[in-house]
């Protein structure tokens, strides 16, 4: 099914345009998209980092976790949207490089879990900003989620870079 989707995408005019390296304007699109992608990764990593370090008991505790989440969520979501748009653009330019690559597929799977954890931060603290502080069990769970989240996002970043080197489908 992925093979069929990849074949179909490769034949579209948009894909041809994005992968056109003979004209400067079109050649620039993908490098610029990747640059914006990397900058958005920076926004996500720092925002998630601040939230997770707070849950781990490191870093600033002057504000409630709920307040921090409220402030950082817009930045995280904006960055994730930009990451998605630039990601789609890059995939359209070279469908098989991404879709048929096991490193890319792993990255997507990890992303689903990481985003789910991030959403849980928002959902749990909307009514109670101190949700994760109130019991010892919750604090333990918070530390588990935060560690997992940190590791996941680092793996996602690494997988992103390693797509260029590993995971290509041998046909």
């Amino acid at each position: 099914m992925l093979q069929e989707l990849t074949d179909w995408l490769s034949r579209t005019d948009l894909s041809a345009l994005l992968s056109d390296t003979t004209h400067l304007e079109t050649w620039l699109i993908i490098p610029l998209s990747q640059t914006i992608h990397i900058l958005s990764v920076a926004v996500v990593m720092i925002s998630i980092g601040v939230l997770n370090l707070r849950l781990l008991g490191v870093g600033n505790s002057k504000q409630t976790f709920g307040r921090l989440t409220t402030q950082l969520t817009p930045w995280i979501w904006s960055a994730l949207v930009i990451l998605f748009v630039t990601g789609v653009l890059q995939t359209l330019a070279e469908p098989s490089r991404e879709l048929l690559n096991s490193t890319f597929q792993l990255k997507m799977a990890l992303l689903v879990i990481a985003v789910a954890i991030t959403i849980s931060y928002r959902v749990t603290t909307t009514k109670n900003p101190n949700y994760w502080d109130v019991t010892a069990d919750r604090r333990r769970m918070a530390r588990f989620l935060a560690s997992t989240s940190l590791v996941l996002w680092l793996c996602i970043l690494s997988a992103g870079r390693l797509i260029a080197y590993f995971g290509a489908f041998e046909s």
């Binding site: 920076a42 990593m45 970043l157």
Partner: protein, 162 residues
């Protein structure tokens, strides 16, 4: 021994050869380099945006600074170490790229901007630390810093492309 000889020497070391010959050393070093850069740019961006009065306006500048700068410095050291490892694997190739030279110059400029800010503008921090919108000189320093570092990332990406 001229500077070119130094780079040739780097190129001929067994370390450089190992990196070139290995399937995974370069990718691993590059990934760590990128992760470190992401943390440098992300942390400095958060501070710069506070200096510009765009984020965390309810918190003192010094508080955001103390939170972010340790990460900036630690990540910068890691980025430099692993950048050097990437560099020695093919110094002549990198030196022939304009994007590489420009990237180095931009990092220097970012550093100069930071030094200037620390030794001049920052002296008066007591007056504007809690202001949601700091004075113009502070906002300018933040804006310049952000512009320099974004440009560093652009150059870095293009080095990998050409």
């Amino acid at each position: 021994m001229g500077i070119v000889d130094l780079f040739q020497w780097m190129n001929d070391t067994s370390l450089a050869e190992s990196i070139r010959d290995s399937v995974w050393l370069f990718p691993m070093f590059e990934t760590i380099h990128v992760a470190a850069i992401v943390l440098v740019v992300g942390s400095i961006a958060r501070l710069d945006l506070r200096l510009a009065g765009l984020v965390a306006r309810n918190r003192p500048v010094t508080e955001v600074q103390n939170e972010m700068l340790p990460w900036t410095w630690a990540s910068f050291v890691v980025a430099t170490v692993f950048g050097l490892l990437l560099f020695v694997s093919k110094p002549m190739v990198y030196l022939s790229m304009a994007f590489f030279d420009v990237k180095m110059i931009l990092i220097l400029l970012a550093g100069l901007n930071m030094l200037t800010f620390q030794h001049m503008t920052f002296r008066s921090v007591g007056r504007w630390d809690r202001d949601p919108l700091p004075p113009v000189a502070v906002r300018l320093a933040g804006g310049l810093s952000l512009a320099f570092w974004i440009s560093v990332v652009v150059c870095g990406r293009f080095i990998g492309f050409v």
